[in-house]
């Protein structure tokens, strides 16, 4: 801080003359956040994680013509333990979801999810499929959605820049990954494959609805028995 704005400092704080030109007094968040965010946003390590067609465009984004290196993002890691960005590029199927969630849980925090393409964001052209999950956001907290089928490499880069902007605005003091009460922090229960995909967070609803369905089925069967019996009785 220069002597001209030394007046901003509390009056009882005596700044030695030799330090007055190079000490900055500020609060910790203002000092740390920009430095911390600057480091994180320029060294994002995405995970090698291709699900379908969109993954081809993701690979193209990282290769010859488009080049993610200039964003500090070229280090695609083959393991969740070393990644902080999961690019969900492709169709999320029910059979695959348990694996995706398991990998997400294995990523260290802070971690981000980018949903690439129509399928990952909402089921896309395959929304009506019996094995397709209509949007990974049904399971994981998504930070950035990139539209397209598939999004072009330019679109993905735009999404990554959007993620950088998002990181810029985050603060350690309020970041979700240090807060217990934030629903997006912590472990997401891994869904299981039953007769259909079972989201364990909904187990109460499932039990309740299944019991209701059973009661209805029994009532109907009883009715059928009655109508079947009565003509004989008559």
């Amino acid at each position: 801080m220069t002597s001209s704005n030394a007046g901003a400092v509390a009056p009882d704080l005596v700044v030695p003359e030799e330090l007055s030109n190079n000490v900055m007094i500020t609060n910790i968040a203002k000092l740390l956040d920009p430095a911390y965010n600057w480091a994180r946003r320029n060294s994002i390590w995405p995970m090698v994680f291709g699900l379908a067609c969109c993954a081809i465009e993701m690979i193209c984004t990282a290769s010859s013509r488009y080049d993610l290196a200039r964003f500090g993002m070229e280090v695609f890691r083959a393991t969740p333990r070393q990644s902080d960005l999961m690019i969900i590029s492709g169709t999320v199927t029910k059979k695959m979801v348990p694996t995706i969630v398991r990998l997400y849980n294995q990523m260290p925090e802070p971690r981000y999810v980018l949903s690439m393409g129509a399928c990952a964001s909402g089921g896309g052209p395959f929304k009506e499929g019996y094995n397709v999950v209509d949007g990974i956001d049904k399971f994981l907290p998504v930070d950035v959605y990139v539209p397209g089928c598939p999004p072009t490499p330019q679109a993905l880069i735009n999404g990554l820049i959007a993620l950088q902007e998002k990181i810029d605005q985050q603060s350690i003091a309020t970041a979700p990954w240090y807060r217990k009460d934030d629903p997006t922090a912590g472990v997401v229960p891994i869904p299981v494959l039953g007769p259909d995909l079972v989201d364990l967070r909904k187990i109460d609803t499932i039990k309740r609805e299944a019991a209701k369905a059973l009661a209805e089925q029994e009532k109907q069967e009883a009715q059928e028995r009655e109508t079947a019996v009565s003509p004989e009785a008559a």
Partner: protein
């Protein structure tokens, strides 16, 4: 490169008095008068075979009549007759030409058909699929488990009366999406708020469906001691899982491997992680609405997928394709083949450990092809371009500021040949490439045919079979090109077949360019483009093309005046080529698995559909 043994089997087979298909059909009817009869349905050309006689008929067809190649097996739900049907397409490798189609009909309540795996091992996965999706029980099948869905999945989803957990209407667009201009998401009416349903009274614990443990048991591994276990050192065989999320599996593919030390004892592929219900959706869509879905099958070669599908539907419609459209089709399809092979070879070398460098060099050239596609169709990858009776648009005026024809000239005569030559010089005789790939993942000629391999897999094993020559479509019969064939059937030969095919595609393209100039301005589609396509006559059609990965076939049946297919099946080359994966890997090291898989060149969109 120069050692390639190129065989030119003459352009079109001459019209002989008796065609082999007819001959075979007559011979079968004569030999099995009780069991074999003509299919009486309108527009069907195959044979009806009694289920219990099927293996005998198949053996006769294979050994005595020369129809030794089983291309496709699929199920059909004939719900109105209370029957399920299995359909087999068989071809003759030596004679070429069309297929002998066998239809086997069984009772819907108790659908049992003897397996054909002993006759054609290539039926293995396809029968499993028909069991999974239709519930047809193939008696005697060595490993009849779910393949695209998971163990414990509810019901057989391709049956016509199977209701999806969240089910709206038979055809799109769904009413719920546009009531009075507002959008209602029908799944939100579902009590779970999701596209799911569960059986009445079901109480999930999460443990009753222990799919995983069963998966690991499937290699039949009694985890016995290793062969060289001795008193001093006892080693176990172990089971290792690769995928479904693994950088070398080319997508969401999984292999359960049983190892003895580093050596592969057994390997089972596990798939279905990208099963996107292509066929179920395809049977609800209109005919035209299916074209963009075919793009998403083999997403590295979308336009050639279009081609297979439109050929099948054109057979049902009886369309005539104008000349210019045919030339444009060949142009786009061959460029697609090159884009695919550039990718496949780049990736194969990546799998070999040549991390990324060859891949990056080849992608630059692939991007040029994509530039052309983008200007032509509006999309880099999902080029929804072909239409029934032609193509959607004529060629653009310019590509990236350069007149189209000069762009293509430069691409075909300068850029691509140079890139291929460079790649060839760098890699074909490279010590490491040869050491890692020669003799690895061998398939003999007999095995390749028996396992229903297709495309470069088949031709690397010494089988001269290419749909473009065997049953020519489009204008391929009038073009001059060779079919590269190699004879060792290993990873190296598959690589070289692809390298040579790049050259052959260039050769075809050079012949096509002058025709494009000549036909400039003439129509590219037959009649007026139409959305509401209806099929004039009922019947079945099988359209097949030589896709970069092998024979891609579409089996379609339709009723008269119907707007969507009754049955829509895709004969996916990647899926069927995987049948031999276990066999090819046995005896090799773990690191070789990756390379062998790379040499098949699979795309999961097509494997799982």
């Amino acid at each position: 490169m120069n050692e390639a043994i190129l065989e030119a089997p003459g352009s079109v087979p001459p019209e002989t008095a008796v065609n082999p298909v007819e001959q075979a059909i007559n011979a079968l009817k004569e030999r099995f008068p009780e069991a074999v009869s003509d299919d009486p349905r309108d527009g069907y050309s195959g044979l009806l075979v009694a289920a219990d006689k099927l293996p005998e008929v198949a053996l006769a067809l294979r050994d005595d009549l020369g129809f030794d190649y089983l291309s496709s097996v699929t199920g059909v739900d004939l719900i109105e007759d209370g029957k399920l049907e299995a359909v087999y397409h068989t071809y003759s490798i030596d004679q070429g030409g069309g297929s002998v189609v066998l239809h086997v009909q069984v009772d819907r309540e108790n659908p049992v058909i003897p397996t054909l795996v002993p006759v054609w091992p290539g039926a293995d996965f396809q029968e499993r699929e028909a069991w999974d999706l239709y519930g047809i029980h193939f008696e005697g099948h060595p490993d009849l488990r779910r393949i695209l869905t998971w163990d414990g999945f509810h019901g057989h989803p391709m049956r016509k009366d199977w209701k999806e957990p969240f089910y709206e209407e038979d055809t799109k667009p769904f009413g719920s999406r546009w009531p009075a201009g507002g959008v209602l998401r029908a799944e939100e009416l579902n009590p779970y708020g999701q596209n799911v349903q569960y059986p009445p009274g079901w109480v999930p614990t999460g443990e009753e469906y222990d799919v995983e443990t069963e998966m690991y048991a499937i290699t039949g591994a009694d985890l016995a001691y290793s062969i060289d276990a001795s008193q001093q050192m006892k080693t176990d065989k172990i089971t290792v899982n690769l995928g479904p999320q693994h950088p070398s599996t080319h997508g969401v593919f999984r292999m359960v491997v049983q190892l003895d030390g580093e050596t592969v004892v057994d390997l089972k592929p596990v798939m279905g992680y990208l099963h996107r219900n292509h066929e179920k959706i395809g049977e609800r869509n209109t005919f035209l609405g299916n074209i963009p879905y075919t793009d998403r099958l083999d997403y590295l070669s979308p336009i050639s997928n279009n081609h297979g599908y439109v050929l099948a539907v054109e057979k049902l419609l009886g369309s005539v394709v104008p000349e210019r459209a045919e030339w444009i089709r060949i142009l786009t399809v061959e460029l697609t083949r090159m884009a695919n092979h550039l990718w496949a070879i780049g990736f194969l070398l990546n799998d070999l450990g040549a991390l990324q460098t060859p891949m990056l060099y080849f992608y630059i050239e692939r991007e040029l092809i994509l530039d052309f596609f983008e200007t032509l169709t509006g999309a880099r990858m999902m080029n929804n371009y072909m239409r029934f009776g032609g193509v959607a648009y004529d060629l653009p005026d310019d590509v990236r500021g350069q007149p189209t024809m000069s762009f293509l000239d430069e691409l075909v005569n300068e850029r691509l040949p140079k890139a291929i030559e460079q790649g060839n010089n760098l890699m074909t005789f490279n010590e490491i490439v040869r050491a890692r790939s020669i003799g690895v993942g061998r398939l003999t000629r007999q095995e390749a045919i028996a396992y229903s391999m297709a495309g470069p897999m088949l031709r690397a094993s010494g089988v001269n079979y290419d749909v473009r020559k065997a049953e020519p479509y489009s204008y391929y019969a009038s073009l001059d090109f060779d079919i590269p064939v190699y004879y060792d059937g290993d990873v190296y030969d598959r690589y070289r077949v692809r390298m040579d095919e790049l050259q052959q595609s260039l050769r075809i393209l050079r012949q096509v360019l002058p025709y494009l100039k000549e036909t400039e301005g003439s129509p590219v589609i037959d009649g007026k483009p139409s959305y509401a396509i209806r099929i004039p006559q009922p019947g079945e059609a099988y359209g097949r093309v030589e896709n970069p990965k092998g024979e891609l076939g579409f089996y379609i049946t339709a009723k008269r005046r119907s707007a969507s297919p009754e049955r829509y099946h895709v004969r996916a080359p990647s899926f069927i080529n995987l049948t031999s994966l276990g066999k090819m890997c046995q005896g090799h090291k773990v690191a070789d698995i990756v390379v062998i898989l790379g040499s098949i060149d699979i795309v999961l969109g097509e494997v799982d559909r």
